[in-house]
């Protein structure tokens, strides 16, 4: 196992940030911690990268214990925190050189690993890190986290606040790093990114809700979901919520995802109900479940 976490917990004053969490990440796996702000993702990252000591439980990373062998872990992992943490006053090149030196290596030695990413910011290598755009900062931070060729890469919300295009590009980079044999633990609040991981843990309020492959997690969803559409979205949501048999009603892009309390639900009945409420252009169709549906069901 590349990462093994057994029953770890951590509290800050009254708040239990991480509550008895266990999971394992295999070598070469791309594993996702999926959950909103405040779920405890960052605290888990900080414990695994030896920046915080767990109160209970134990954890190993690359075979080393997070408490006893913290120095070895620091040499063997790359960590990209959620908050930009490079030196703003150093240039792109100076930052990279600094991190290489700290880890007793050189840019040249491991250039192959970061090449794909670094070439995109190389034209700006004389620019101070603080003056880079968000996307460029992210690429520099990833380059710095990789420059010592870590066995395990920790990425804490690398795509939060990033536009859909850059997010997509970032995941393409991750997939290519994975092919080079690096184990990756990544966290994200974007549920659509979960589908790109080998396995995921859904996490909320310090607790893991479920761990599995994205496909299996979707399969476990207990209900049939219907896409419902009508001309006035706001009124549609109101009407569906006042339908006595509704189980859940969530807006989902151009549709509303509707589930019914009953197993023998007939969409025709809902159609008639909505017609009686004077909705126009009503459309009801069965649809496929997403990770986001599952997350909302588990987090209820």
């Amino acid at each position: 196992m590349s990462i093994s976490v057994k029953n770890i917990s951590k509290s800050f004053k009254k708040v239990t940030a991480v509550n008895d969490v266990s999971f394992e990440v295999k070598e070469g796996e791309l594993f996702g911690l999926i959950g909103p702000d405040g779920a405890g993702k960052t605290t888990i990252f900080r414990m695994l990268t030896t920046l915080l000591i767990p109160e209970n439980g134990s954890a190993t990373v690359a075979g080393f214990d997070v408490v006893d062998d913290y120095k070895e872990i620091r040499n063997n992992v790359g960590y990209m925190p959620g908050k930009f943490s490079l030196y703003q006053d150093l240039t792109v090149e100076e930052n990279l050189d600094f991190f290489a030196t700290i880890f007793g290596t050189t840019i040249e030695e491991n250039y192959e690993l970061i090449k794909d990413i670094y070439v995109q910011i190389e034209p700006f290598k004389k620019r101070r890190a603080g003056k880079l755009s968000g996307g460029m900062k992210q690429k520099l931070a990833l380059s710095c986290a990789l420059i010592h060729k870590p066995k395990v890469l920790f990425l804490d919300e690398p795509t939060t606040g990033v536009d859909p295009v850059s997010r997509k590009e970032f995941w393409e980079m991750l997939k290519r790093l994975q092919q080079k044999g690096i184990t990756i633990l990544v966290s994200t609040p974007y549920m659509d990114e979960a589908a790109l991981c080998d396995r995921i843990a859904l996490i909320q309020d310090g607790k893991i809700l479920q761990i599995d492959t994205p496909q299996e997690i979707i399969k476990h969803y207990p209900k049939k979901i219907y896409d419902v559409r009508a001309d006035n979205m706001y009124r549609l949501i109101e009407s569906l919520k006042s339908f006595e048999h509704h189980y859940s009603v969530y807006p989902f892009g151009e549709f509303v995802h509707y589930t019914d309390k009953r197993d023998d639900f007939n969409p025709q009945e809902l159609q008639l109900y909505l017609e009686a409420k004077d909705h126009q252009n009503i459309k009801i169709e069965i649809t496929t479940t997403t990770i986001e549906d599952t997350f909302m069901e588990l987090a209820k």
Binding site: G134, T160, G161, V162, D163, P189
Partner: protein, 255 residues
């Protein structure tokens, strides 16, 4: 300004030295509309928004917001709009109640009015238990809901929301949009930026900025037709994706 337009923008431009951040954009937003203002990081959204809320003077062009000119009456604009950003929303070391009182005061509401609004808000959002808690101790989703309500305290004609739901959990994100629908339904105009493309579908109309220009503007339905795309996510990728320097097209993974 036509009666039912809350924003009218014509060839609005902002240059920083020889860099054109916003390049001659033209659009209008109608009363009660939910207008989605999309674009990649660095496309010029924030710069454009800063001009519209009266805190950055345009280089050239014309713009009116809530009936006031951005060049000559930026202070009147500030009084007549609501604004909420993800970065700065509320004071963490004040309680919920103190934040409401503070912002009510800033907008010049009377004590009686503030009290009335506060009671309304507590009732509507179910804040009774947490009204005396420090805002810093609340989950992000709560902060964002409260922050939105505070942006509406002085009953502005339009409210600007800058990535209001980033990082918020999926259930709260939806509750947030229901609040948006509700206020749009009662006539408040909503101007919103987001990186969640499912949220783009909730807007009445959407504009997409690329390199300082508005490259597309229409209802989500028509944009999907125009770009032959199944979702707004596809529309966005088709428009805003700059060719990646290291990656052949077909190697892409799908989000």
């Amino acid at each position: 300004m036509k009666n039912n337009n809350v924003i009218e923008v014509e060839n609005l431009t902002k240059k920083f030295g020889d860099f054109t951040a916003v390049n001659s954009i033209t659009f209008e937003v109608k009363k009660g509309e939910i207008f989605g203002f999309l674009g990649a990081n660095g496309a010029g959204k924030t710069t454009a928004m800063k001009m519209l809320i009266g805190i950055s003077k345009p280089t050239s062009g014309k713009a009116q917001v809530a009936g006031f000119d951005v060049f000559t009456h930026p202070e009147d604009i500030k009084k007549n709009i609501g604004y909420m950003s993800q970065k700065f929303a509320l004071y963490d070391d004040l309680t919920v109640k103190e934040n409401i009182t503070f912002f009510g005061g800033i907008y010049g509401l009377s004590r009686a009015k503030i009290k009335e609004k506060r009671c309304e808000l507590v009732e509507e959002l179910g804040l009774k238990e947490i009204v005396n808690e420090l805002v810093g101790s609340l989950p992000l989703g709560w902060k964002q809901k409260i922050s939105f309500s505070i942006a509406l305290l002085h009953s502005p004609t339009i409210v600007f929301l800058d990535e209001p739901t980033g990082g918020v959990d999926p259930i709260t994100r939806r509750q947030f949009w229901e609040m948006i629908y509700k206020s749009a339904n009662s006539g408040t105009t909503i101007f919103v930026t987001t990186h969640y493309m499912d949220e783009a579908e909730y807007c009445d109309r959407v504009s997409i900025m690329v390199d300082g220009k508005i490259e597309a503007l229409d209802t989500p339905k028509k944009l999907k037709l125009q770009f032959k795309a199944a979702t707004m996510d596809e529309v966005f990728l088709k428009l805003a994706r700059s060719p990646s320097p290291t990656l052949p097209e077909e190697k892409g993974v799908n989000i």
